[in-house]
């Protein structure tokens, strides 16, 4: 028998802890758990934007799986997320390594490298829409000046260049800047001795990078790239909606799921169908979440 007094003490401690957790508990139930359940429920109705709805079973899902627009969008979502993760990670490592190379003015360089991350994405999107314009875009103008020929590449609408442009623009999102700073500090944590040992072997810079740097920061790379996936899923709307519109021009090549959800809910007023799409997006996010947990075990991240 546990003494009564002891029991009381534990109970009190637990209650205190729960009292502290109360805001999260309410928030989780009201703004996360309930919406998730509600989303599944709404996805089984033909709810319209005006609130009228009736139960239709799984017909939203049936319609969705037959819709080429949906399959295209699903494909684009995964493609966009994975490629964005890859290019932003590589770019962040490049910037971090440049900044970690001890030279004068590194503080100023960091300002320039990081500032695009904290300015509004929508401003950047509009800036790039005009930089990559066809007849009056900055880039075509610069190319014309350099080459001496009149250049009018249709950057944003040419199927060959649109992804080039979109992924270039993702280099300017918050995610990249964040990763760059994280890489800066983790690169600094790589023990000097390892590099010195390489020097003694007469290894070149590239070899040092592949043999020491990459393995040493690989846990961070993994973690960052997967969290990058999540911010790509989440941030794609704010970036692409002002850039290519709800139809993901040209030819739906940039229509990620979040754009399609917005379009179905607000342009076509099909909230029930948009909920079914949201369920899919939610499941994709869960999938990435599971991947994060799988990776995090290796990185000794949650050392409870």
């Amino acid at each position: 028998m546990v003494p009564n007094k002891f029991n009381k003490k534990i109970l009190k401690r637990n209650l205190t802890a729960y009292a502290f957790c109360l805001p999260w508990f309410i928030g989780f139930i009201c703004f996360t758990l309930f919406p998730i359940i509600f989303m599944f429920a709404v996805s089984l109705t033909n709810r319209k934007l005006n609130g009228k709805s009736s139960f239709v079973g799984f017909s939203n899902y049936a319609a969705m799986f037959q819709s080429p627009t949906f399959w295209n969008s699903l494909k684009i979502t995964i493609f966009f997320t994975v490629i964005m993760m890859a290019v932003t990670t590589v770019w962040a490592v490049i910037m971090a390594m440049l900044l970690n190379h001890k030279q004068k003015l590194n503080g100023i360089f960091q300002f320039f490298y990081f500032i695009p991350s904290v300015v509004p994405t929508i401003s950047l999107a509009y800036a790039f829409r005009t930089i990559f314009g066809k007849d009056a875009g900055l880039l075509n103008y610069v190319i014309s000046m350099i080459s001496g020929k009149n250049t009018s590449i249709n950057w944003m609408y040419d199927p060959h260049t649109v992804y080039l442009v979109i992924f270039f623009i993702t280099l300017f999102t918050y995610n990249t800047g964040q990763m760059m700073l994280v890489f800066r500090s983790s690169l600094n944590d790589v023990p000097r001795e390892l590099y010195e040992a390489c020097d003694m072997d007469g290894a070149g810079a590239l070899r040092k990078f592949t043999m020491v740097t990459i393995p040493m920061i690989s846990p961070i790379i993994l973690f960052n790239s997967v969290t990058g996936c999540i911010s790509a899923l989440n941030g794609s709307f704010a970036l692409l909606y002002p850039l290519t519109g709800e139809n993901g021009d040209p030819n739906g090549m940039t229509q990620v799921l979040s754009l399609l959800i917005y379009k179905e809910a607000f342009s076509n007023m099909k909230v029930g169908y948009a909920s079914a799409l949201s369920v899919i997006l939610f499941l994709i996010a869960c999938l990435f979440g599971i991947i994060i947990f799988a990776f995090s075990k290796k990185t000794v991240y949650y050392e409870n």
Binding site: R13, T32, M39, T130, S278
Partner: protein, 282 residues
């Protein structure tokens, strides 16, 4: 020996040039926005040069005279301040027992918090939209402000990571002095954690200053538009023709929006950069 030194120096120069090049690429869009805000529409859509041919302040006066610019600023600042205030209080409270106490279900709660961090907001926005509609909160800032008072998982996570790094002896000393758990939190942890409050506060401010997605879904009328929404609505089109985008006015409004985060970085880079650096690590 000399050639090796010479090689090293040229490598240094090369790296420096590379740095300048990257800086130029990263800053280019911002320069473009600044320069565009001083052009008129005809120049903007015909001659793309960085230096405006006949600089004009028309775009700025257009913004101030033809829109409720100060209402947009008021809304944005209100949103920014209240969400930040809310999330600092609630998230730090929740993070405390997770970092410093043992209680039943702690690991489950923490796992759920980390799990919900992974759910992109956009996946739940449709059900939340319907829910807030039922509560009569649409077309106001409430759908964004109220959840902030109930702890954002990401911020809870950041606070927890920081609290764990503070030596436990401090708590014990305070407990011996007669403080209970709440006393320890307010008298010991909060004063010592000022830097992390500043950091998370700054990150939150930057986020809400730039946030587009949620206002796009929740805001309808002019009186609750934030600056980001105004950018894609009020400043977007020229009067009369819905197909001609008023780029210079967008650029001028963007310029005004870009400057505050830049200033914040200049004065608070210690907190901002330091905070982000640790956010991805343990």
């Amino acid at each position: 020996m000399r050639t090796l030194k010479g090689k090293k120096r040229s490598a240094e120069i090369l790296i420096f040039i590379l740095k300048i090049l990257v800086a130029f690429i990263m800053f280019c869009p911002i320069i473009w926005v600044f320069s565009g805000s001083f052009k008129d529409l005809a120049e903007f859509t015909t001659s793309p040069g960085i230096i405006p041919k006949k600089p004009t302040l028309e775009n700025f006066s257009y913004i101030f005279n033809n829109s409720n610019y100060f209402i947009y600023i008021k809304n944005t600042v209100l949103l920014m301040v209240l969400t930040t205030f809310g999330t600092l209080i609630s998230s730090s409270l929740v993070a405390y027992p997770l970092a410093r106490m043992n209680f039943w279900g702690k690991n489950v709660i923490f796992a759920i918090i980390v799990g919900t961090m992974m759910i992109p907001n956009i996946a739940l926005i449709i059900p939340q939209y319907i829910m807030f509609g039922k509560m009569g909160w649409l077309d106001s800032l409430l759908p964004m402000i109220v959840p902030a008072f109930f702890a954002y998982p990401y911020n809870v996570f950041l606070f927890r990571q920081f609290f764990r790094s503070i030596p436990k002896e401090l708590d014990e000393a305070a407990t011996i002095d007669g403080c209970n758990k709440a006393g320890v939190f307010f008298n010991v942890l909060v004063p010592i954690s000022k830097p992390v409050f500043v950091t998370i506060g700054m990150l939150s401010c930057v986020f809400w200053w730039n946030e587009l997605t949620q206002p796009v879904f929740y805001i309808n009328s002019d009186k609750w538009r934030t600056l980001t929404i105004a950018l894609m609505t009020t400043f977007m089109y020229t009067s009369g023709n819905a197909f001609v985008i008023n780029w210079p006015s967008i650029m001028a409004a963007s310029t005004l929006m870009i400057i505050p985060p830049m200033v914040l970085y200049l004065f608070g880079s210690k907190f901002l950069v330091g905070g982000i650096k640790t956010s991805g690590l343990k």
